[in-house]
C-alpha cells in the first residue's frame, strides 16, 4: 500500500464525506444556531439568545411531551424486556434437557418466526392497522367483540388516560419479537454445562432463570435498554398516525418529535422548534449517560 495511496484515499472518502457533511453535520450544527433566533422563514432571522429556551419552560405542551417521554422511557423497556425475556427463556431452555442439551419448548422455531414479523413492518403501517383494531364502534377488532357480548365499547384513543397506554401497547406488540431473537442469541452463547451443573444441584426452572440466565445476559439487556430508550425518545410515526389529531386528545399522547414537527411545519416557528430539538438532544444524551452509569457492573466471564 505504498504508491498512490493518498489520491485513492481522498477519492474514496470525498463523496461519502461530502454527502454526510451536507445533509447531516451541517444541519445539526445549524440547529443550535437557529434555536437562538426568532426565525419564521420569511424575514432574516434575529438573534434572541436564550429566549426560545425560556419560553420552553412555560410551554405546557412541551412539559406534557417530556412527561410522556418519562412514561415511555420506563414502561416501554420494562414491559418489552420482561415479556421478551420470559419468551426467550421458554424458547431456548424451557423444554426438557436430554443428554445435557438444553432444549426449547415444542414449536420454538415457529414462535420465533411469528413473533419477529411485526419488526419488518413500518411503524406508520402498524399505526394504521391499530387504528382499525382500536376503532370505537362495532367495526373495531376489539370493540366488535365487546359489543357482540353487549359490553360498552372501550374508547382506546379518545380517553385521555387510556390513549398513551394504547399507544405503548402497540409499540410493545411490535418490539417483543425483536428482543426475543436478540435474547435468544445471547442465551445460546451460555454454555449448556452451566445449566446442567445447576440442575444437578436441584435448581428449578425459576432459579435457573434468575440465577444463571439473567446475570449472564446482562450485557445484552443493557443494549436492549438503550435501544428501547432511543425508541421512547422518537415515537413520532406512531403518535402522528395513530393518535387523535397528532398527539391528542388534547395533548394526552404528544411527544417532543410531534411538537417539533408541529411548530416547524404547521406554525413555521423554526427557531422555537429548533430549541425543542436541542432540548430533545440533551435529554437523549442524559439518558444514554445515565443508562451506561447505572447499569455498569462487573460482567460475568464464562
Amino acid at each position: 500500500m505504498r504508491h498512490g495511496k493518498y489520491p485513492f484515499v481522498i477519492g474514496f472518502l470525498f463523496a461519502p464525506v461530502a454527502l454526510y457533511v451536507t445533509f447531516v453535520i451541517w444541519p445539526y450544527a445549524q440547529a443550535f444556531q437557529i434555536s437562538m433566533t426568532n426565525w419564521r422563514g420569511l424575514s432574516a432571522p434575529q438573534w434572541v439568545g436564550f429566549d426560545n429556551y425560556r419560553r420552553l419552560l412555560d410551554d405546557g405542551a412541551f412539559w406534557k411531551a417530556v412527561q410522556h417521554h418519562g412514561v415511555l422511557l420506563l414502561a416501554l423497556p420494562l414491559i418489552t424486556v420482561a415479556i421478551a425475556l420470559f419468551f426467550a427463556f421458554l424458547l431456548n431452555v424451557g423444554g426438557k434437557s436430554s443428554g445435557g442439551q438444553r432444549q426449547g419448548v415444542w414449536g420454538a422455531k415457529f414462535y420465533r418466526v411469528v413473533f419477529f414479523f411485526p419488526q419488518v413492518l413500518a411503524v406508520a403501517i402498524i399505526a394504521v392497522l391499530f387504528q382499525m383494531v382500536y376503532r370505537p364502534n362495532e367495526s373495531g377488532l376489539i370493540n366488535g367483540v365487546l359489543m357482540k357480548f353487549g359490553l360498552e365499547p372501550i374508547l382506546f384513543l379518545v380517553k385521555p388516560n387510556l390513549a398513551l397506554w394504547s399507544i405503548i401497547a402497540v409499540l410493545v406488540w411490535q418490539a417483543v419479537g425483536f428482543y426475543v431473537v436478540l435474547f435468544s442469541a445471547g442465551m445460546a452463547s451460555i454454555p449448556g454445562e452451566i445449566y446442567e451443573a445447576a440442575e444437578m444441584d436441584g435448581a428449578t426452572k425459576v432459579t435457573l432463570f434468575f440465577r444463571v440466565t439473567l446475570p449472564l445476559l446482562w450485557d445484552t439487556l443493557q443494549v436492549a435498554w438503550v435501544y428501547l430508550g432511543i425508541a421512547a425518545f422518537d415515537a413520532f410515526a406512531i403518535v402522528a398516525v395513530l393518535s387523535v389529531d397528532g398527539g391528542g386528545p388534547d395533548g394526552a399522547t404528544t411527544v417532543l418529535a410531534m411538537e417539533i414537527y408541529r411548530n416547524a411545519f404547521v406554525y413555521s416557528k423554526y427557531g422555537y422548534a429548533s430549541a425543542m430539538g436541542v432540548a430533545l438532544f440533551f435529554l437523549t444524551l442524559t439518558f444514554a449517560a445515565l443508562t451506561l452509569r447505572l447499569t455498569k457492573r462487573e460482567s460475568v466471564e464464562y
Partner: protein, 309 residues
Amino acid sequence: MNPQSTLPPTPAALPPKTGDPSGPARPGSQGPRPEVRFFSRLGHVALAVWAVIVIVPILWTFLAAFKNTSEIFSSPWTLPAELRWENFSRAWTKAHVGRYFLNSVIVVSCSTFLTMLLGSMAAYVLARYKFWGNRAVYFLFVSGLAFPVFLALVPLFFVVKNLGLLDTHTGVVLVYAAYSLPFTVFFLAAFFKTLPSSVAEAGMIDGCGHSRLFFQVMMPMAKPGLISVAIFNIIGQWAQYQLPLVLLSNAKDKWVLTQGIADISVNAGYEADWSGLFAALTIAILPMIIVYAVFQRQIQAGLTSGAVK
C-alpha cells in the same frame, strides 16, 4: 463481531455434548417434577396467546379487505360473503397505492444502493488505510449515531430546499443515504478490519490497483457483512415516515407507501371507504410477509446485527 453469530440459534448450535458417561443418573431422564410441568404448560399457553395476538390483527385486516363497508360493521369476525377483488383495484388505482408502492421501491432501491456503495467505500478506507485524519473522519461518521434526526429537521428542510431538491426523489434518496451512513460505516469498518490482509497483499504484488483490489477482492470477501447491513438499511428506509413527510409534502405523486397509507386512513373517514383502506393495508403488508418468509434468517440476522456487539 461476525454477524453470522447473531443468526437465530437452535439447540443444535450449542457444542455437542453426547455420550454422557454418567448414564442413567442424568437429571433429565427422571420424570419432570409437577411444578416443572405446571410452568411449562403455562409457558405454552403464554406463547400461543402471544402468537394469536400477533397474527389475528393482520389476518383480520386481510379478511376485511374482501368485505364491503356494511359487512365490516355488521360482522367483523366472519369470513367475507364473497371475494370482492374490486376493493383492491380501487385501492391500487383510485387511492394510488400502486403509485406509492412503486415510489417506495424506486426510492429505497436507489438509496440503499447509494448507502452501500458510499458506506463501504468510506468504511474500507477508514478500516484498512493509515493516513492523517483517519480517526477524525471515523468519529465524524460514528458521532451521527448519537444525534436524533429531529434535532436536524428544520435546517435539513432548508438545506434540501436551497439545493432545489424539495419534493423530488433525488432529495429523499440523498438524505436517506446520508442518515444511513453512520451505522453502515460503523458496522462495515469493524467488518473490513476482520478480513485477512494476506489476500490484499497478494493482490497488490500481482499489480492490482487500490480500486480494483476493493471492488474485485475485498467486496466479495465482505459479502456476509454487506448483506446484513443492506437488509438493515432496506427495512429501515422502507419504514421511513418522518423524512418523506417533511421532504415530499407538496408532491403527492411522489409520496412513498408509509405516507400514502397514512393519508388514505385519514381520508377513509371522510369517504367511509373502509374496505378500500383494508385493501390498501393488505397491499402494504402482504409483500413484507412474502419477503420475510423467504429471507427470514437473513432478516433476523441483519436487524439484530447492530445490537450484538
